[in-house]
Symmetry: C2
Subunit: 189 residues, 2 copies
DNA sequence: TAGTTTGCCTAAATATGTTAGGCAATTGCA
DNA sequence: TGCAATTGCCTAACATATTTAGGCAAACTA
């Protein structure tokens, strides 16, 4: 019988695609096996468990996101960098809702350490070089930016901003303006 | 045989407790049945499905959160209100991680309409009465506050802020200061 | 107290997750 | 090229979760 050519890599990628199509919650070893027209048990040579599969998808999403962010940051500084970076998250979430949801999976410490999480934090710090902040303010600002970006994108994806007449894109622009102004004008009290 | 006294109410509450103990993801009709020492099928007279149970837990959490927020806002204005409101979310998430996670469940439109979601938005607007914003800026600001609060709490719960030496509580205070300053100084461009 | 309703039960079908062990396709080496 | 070792996907089996259908006994109602 002909082989399907399964690899951890292909399974992870297909799992991510599946997540984008039906939601990360619905990603299941069984569904993935069906997609490859293969018996469920066959996947267990390539992923340790359902949890392992989900972790791998999360790590993939974090890498993709970090790659896009790095691209967007290249050659930019100040507000330009801030906006480009923020838009990477928002656009990625819109294009790849399942992957974005995966990126929010709570990782165990080892996986977290091996993830692109550190790159994200580093890039946020790089943006802040365009502003005049010293530690610990810089760390506070990193956390604030992360919170706003993640929070906004989550709430927007959940449909939280679709019940008033105000356009979400406008709010997004307003918020980025505000953050830029805030960081420019910050003076330690 | 003696009856367990199941009701939708009690199941929902027990489900919420279970979520806080083992995580919202792990809440299952079977686990809940075990908790009541009852057969699984018995629960189906009180909840329509596993999804229905989760929705009910989410609605409970949203109500509790709105009640706490309303309490916290009573008699406060300006930055005092802002801080109290923000702390309600953060504290609730810390005390009740499973309930907080449940509150993030994506609800179908009917459930969303019947939820306390509207109260949350109204209360955020009430806080902004202490600042000098008019529409559409007020809506933008509502969205920004929601994003920061939800984003920060999510990232903090996920352990995102535990890998540098800077205390999370300090960042939280810094962010609330910043938001207050931002809203006070906002002038439409 | 008899009748009705309600609550929890048993039984059964279906789906997912996971492990163990087998055979065939592929790879590597003489 | 041909054979051995490896690897990949398979069948089989079991545990757990979801859900529906129908039954019996407890609790209300009159």
């Amino acid at each position: 019988m002909i082989r399907a050519g399964l690899t951890t890599e292909r399974l992870t990628r297909a799992g991510a695609d599946l997540a984008d199509e039906v939601g990360f919650e619905q990603v299941t070893v069984s569904a993935l096996a069906r997609r490859f027209d293969v018996k469920v048990a066959s996947l267990y040579s390539h992923v340790k468990s359902s949890q392992d599969l989900k972790t791998k998808i999360a790590l993939l999403a974090l890498e993709e996101l970090a790659d896009r962010a790095a691209d967007a940051l290249a050659g930019r500084a100040g507000k330009d960098a801030l906006t480009a970076f923020a838009n990477v998250y928002r656009d990625y979430a819109q294009e790849h809702p399942g992957r974005y949801a995966a990126a929010q999976l709570k990782l165990d410490p080892e996986a977290a350490a091996a993830s692109a999480g550190g790159r994200h934090a580093q890039m946020t710090r790089a943006i802040l070089r365009g502003y005049d902040l010293t530690e610990p303010d810089q760390t506070h600002a990193v956390r604030m930016l992360g919170s706003v970006f993640h929070g906004y994108v989550s709430l927007e994806m959940a449909g939280g901003f679709s019940h008033t007449g105000v356009d979400s894109q406008e709010s997004w622009a307003w918020i980025l303006d505000s953050l830029d102004a805030l960081l420019r004008n910050w003076t330690t009290p």
